[in-house]
C-alpha cells in the first residue's frame, strides 16, 4: 500500500533545475535512502516532502492526501537535521516535548511521552541537561526522539550522521534502523555515504544531477547497477568499454580479450560499443579448470585495506582491481607476476548507456 507518493516532482531555482521528473512510491514502514553526490537534488527532494520547498511541478501525496502546498507546520512530518537543531534554550526533555506542547497535549501525556522517548534513546538520566552539555551523538539521538515524539506519519533524516565521527556514526545508524523497525515508521534518509545507505535501507534511490538513476534494494543496487553512474558511485567497480561480438551468446571483446556476459545484450547488435563493469571481489586468480572468461594479466600493485587485499592487475591495456579477503595464510602474487584471472559470466555487468 502506497504511503508516500512523489508524483512527477520537479524543482527549479531560477533557471537551474535541481530535481527533475522524480517519481517514487514509498510503502508504510519502509526505510528508503536517497543516495547521491552533493548537488544531486536529494536534500531538495526531502525538503519538498517536509514542505520547506514547494515543487515547481508534481505532487506530494501522503496517506492519499495531497500535501504539496501545505505549510511545513501543517504536515505531520518529523525531521532530523545534520546540525541537530536542538533548541539551545531548552532542556533535553523540553526539546522532546516541544512538538507535543505545540499540539496542546496535556502535561501528563507530554511527560509520559518524553519519558518513553528518553528510554528509547537510552538517555533516561539526561532529561534535565541542556543540549550543549551532550556529545554530538547524544544530541542527534535527542533530535531523533524529538522528531518521533509527535507520532509523525513520515520521518525525514537529512544526513543526520555527517557531523559525527566514524565510530559513533556506525553505532548510531544501527540504532536509527532498530528504532525505525521497532516503531514501524516510514523513513526517508538522505546520505552521500554509500555504506550508510547500503547498511540501513530497505530501498535506495540513487540520484544524479536531479534525476533518479536507479531504485532498488541495497542488494540490487550493489550487485546489479544499471547505469555507469550507479556502478561508479556505489562501491568500487572496474568499468571499461567493450564491443559486442555475438549478442545471442553474450560474447564480447574487450581490448582484444574475449569475455562472456550472462545477460544485458538482448537489444544489442554485433559491433555495438558498450560499457561493462566487474566488481573487484568477483575477479579471482584461476584455481580450477574453467572454460569461460580466462583473462591473462600482470600483477601491478598490491594494497592492504584491512580485511581486504586489493590487487591491481593489467588485462590488455585495462587496469582492473581485484579484491580478496585477507587472512594470515593468504598466498599473494608478486608485483610483475604473469597470471590468469577469471570471473563468472554473471559478474560481467552490461551497463545502460
Amino acid at each position: 500500500m502506497t504511503h508516500l507518493l512523489l508524483n512527477n516532482i520537479s524543482k527549479q531555482f531560477a533557471s537551474n533545475t535541481v530535481v527533475q521528473d522524480f517519481n517514487l512510491n514509498v510503502e508504510k514502514g519502509e526505510f528508503v535512502s536517497f543516495l547521491g553526490p552533493s548537488g544531486c537534488g536529494k536534500t531538495t527532494t526531502l525538503r519538498m516532502i517536509a514542505g520547506f520547498e514547494v515543487p515547481t511541478m508534481g505532487t506530494v501525496i501522503l496517506d492519499d492526501k495531497d500535501i504539496t502546498n501545505q505549510a511545513p507546520n501543517q504536515r505531520n512530518v518529523g525531521m532530523v537535521f545534520q546540525a541537530y537543531a536542538l533548541f539551545p534554550n531548552m532542556t533535553v526533555a523540553q526539546n522532546i516535548g516541544f512538538g507535543l506542547k505545540i499540539r496542546r497535549e496535556n502535561n501528563g501525556a507530554i511527560k509520559e511521552r518524553v519519558a518513553e522517548m528518553l528510554s528509547l534513546i537510552h538517555l533516561e538520566q539526561r532529561g534535565n541537561s541542556y543540549p550543549y552539555q551532550l556529545s554530538g551523538g547524544q544530541q542527534q539521538r535527542v533530535a531523533l526522539a524529538r522528531a518521533l515524539a509527535i507520532h509523525p506519519q513520515v520521518l525525514l533524516l537529512d544526513e543526520p550522521l555527517s557531523a559525527l565521527d566514524a565510530k559513533i556514526r556506525v553505532q548510531l545508524r544501527a540504532e536509527i534502523r532498530a528504532i525505525q523497525k521497532k516503531l514501524g515508521i516510514t523513513a526517508i534518509y538522505v546520505t552521500h555515504d554509500q555504506e550508510e545507505a547500503l547498511s540501513i535501507s530497505d530501498r535506495i534511490v540513487v540520484m544524479y544531477e536531479g534525476k533518479i538513476e536507479q531504485v532498488g534494494s541495497p542488494f540490487e543496487i550493489y550487485n546489479f547497477p544499471t547505469t555507469a553512474f550507479v556502478a561508479s558511485f556505489v562501491g568500487t567497480l572496474n568499468t571499461t568499454s567493450a564491443e559486442v561480438i555475438d549478442p545471442t551468446t553474450h560474447l564480447l571483446q574487450m581490448d582484444g580479450v574475449q569475455l562472456q556476459a550472462a545477460e544485458g545484450l538482448e537489444d544489442k547488435h554485433k559491433g555495438d560499443k558498450i560499457t561493462i563493469a566487474i566488481r573487484p571481489e568477483r575477479l579471482n586468480f584461476i584455481s580450477q579448470e574453467r572454460k569461460t572468461n580466462i583473462l591473462d594479466c600482470t600483477v601491478e600493485n598490491i594494497t592492504f585495506l584491512g580485511s581486504v587485499v586489493r590487487i591491481q592487475v593489467s588485462i590488455g591495456s585495462n587496469r582492473f582491481y581485484m579484491d580478496t579477503f585477507n587472512n594470515p595464510f593468504l598466498e599473494l602474487p608478486k608485483i610483475g607476476d604473469k597470471d590468469q584471472v577469471t570471473c563468472s559470466r554473471e559478474a560481467v555487468l552490461v551497463l545502460r548507456q
Partner: protein, 260 residues
C-alpha cells in the same frame, strides 16, 4: 626585550586609565564641594530635590523604555526575516542601519520639524515622534546587537526544526529565536538606554522633558549640580554595562550543535 615590552604595555594602560579617570575623579571631587570648606553630597541632594530633575529624568526613562520596546518589536522580526528569507538584502540593511551615524542629529531634527509641523502630518508635538526619532538614532546599536545575536545561532535550521514540529511564526519567534538571542537584545536595549539618556538635540528641539536638556540648563546658572549630574549619568551608564556583562555570563546562549 620581553620585560621592556611589558613595561611599555603597562605604562600605556596606566596612561589610558589616568586619561579617562582623572577628569571623572576631578568632576566627582568638584561635585562634593557644594558646601564651602567641607566635602558633602549637597549637590546631589539639591539635584534629587529639584522637581525639574524628576521631570527630566522620568521623561528620559519613559522615552528610553518606549524606544527599547519599539526597537525590539521592529528590529527583531526584521533582522530575523532578513537572515531567514532575504540574506542578500543584509548589506543594504546594514547600510541603512548606519545612516544615523552619518546624518548629524541637528540635521535630522530640522528634517523632522519641517516635515511634521505642517499638514497632513502635523505630529511635531506628539511624543510618538520623539520615540520614533530615538528609535532611529538607536538603530545602529539595537539592530546590530540583534543581528550579531542571530549570527550566533543557526536561524534557518532552528526555524525549520520548529516548523517541522508544528510551530507557527509567533511561537518560533517568541519561544525559540528571542530566548536564544536574549543577551544580544539586552545589549541593544542597554545601549539604546544610554543613548537616549544622553541625547540632547532631539529632546530640546522637539520640546520634551529629558535628562540631557535639564543638565545643560542647570549648567547655565549652577556649578556643582551639573558635575553631580555628570557623575550620576556615568554611574547609570556603568550600571547598564554591568548588567549587560552580568546577564551575558548567564546560560542565555548555548552553542547550537557541536558539543564535546
Amino acid at each position: 626585550m620581553k620585560i621592556r615590552g611589558k613595561v611599555w604595555a603597562w605604562f600605556l594602560i596606566i596612561l589610558g586609565v589616568l586619561y579617562f579617570f582623572l577628569p571623572l575623579l576631578a568632576t566627582f571631587l568638584f561635585s562634593l564641594k557644594a558646601k564651602l570648606g567641607v566635602l558633602s553630597f549637597q549637590a546631589y541632594v539639591n539635584v534629587f530635590n529639584d522637581p525639574k530633575f524628576i521631570k527630566g529624568f522620568s521623561g528620559s526613562l519613559l522615552w528610553a523604555t518606549l524606544t527599547i520596546v519599539v526597537g525590539i518589536l521592529l528590529f527583531v522580526p526584521t533582522a530575523y526575516w532578513v537572515r531567514l528569507k532575504v540574506p542578500k538584502a543584509r548589506s543594504a540593511i546594514e547600510f541603512i542601519t548606519l545612516i544615523p551615524f552619518v546624518v548629524p542629529p541637528i540635521v535630522f531634527v530640522f528634517g523632522l520639524v519641517r516635515t511634521y509641523s505642517r499638514p497632513p502630518l502635523l505630529i511635531v508635538d506628539s511624543p510618538a515622534l520623539l520615540v520614533a526619532a530615538y528609535t532611529i538614532i538607536s538603530m545602529p546599536y539595537m539592530y546590530r546587537a540583534i543581528d550579531i545575536g542571530l549570527r550566533s545561532i543557526d536561524v534557518r535550521t532552528l526555524t525549520e526544526a520548529a516548523q517541522s514540529l508544528g510551530a507557527g511564526w509567533g511561537t518560533i519567534l517568541f519561544r525559540i529565536i528571542i530566548p536564544n538571542i536574549r543577551v544580544a537584545i539586552l545589549n541593544g536595549a542597554f545601549l539604546s538606554f544610554a543613548i537616549v539618556l544622553g541625547e540632547f538635540i532631539l529632546a530640546r528641539y522637539l520640546v520634551k522633558p529629558a535628562f540631557a536638556p535639564y543638565m545643560l540648563d542647570l549648567g547655565q546658572n549652577r556649578a556643582f549640580e551639573p558635575a553631580a549630574l555628570a557623575v550620576i549619568s556615568f554611574a547609570l551608564t556603568w550600571a547598564c554595562m554591568g548588567i549587560i556583562s552580568l546577564v551575558g555570563r548567564g546560560k542565555g546562549q548555548a552553542p547550537v550543535g557541536g558539543g564535546h
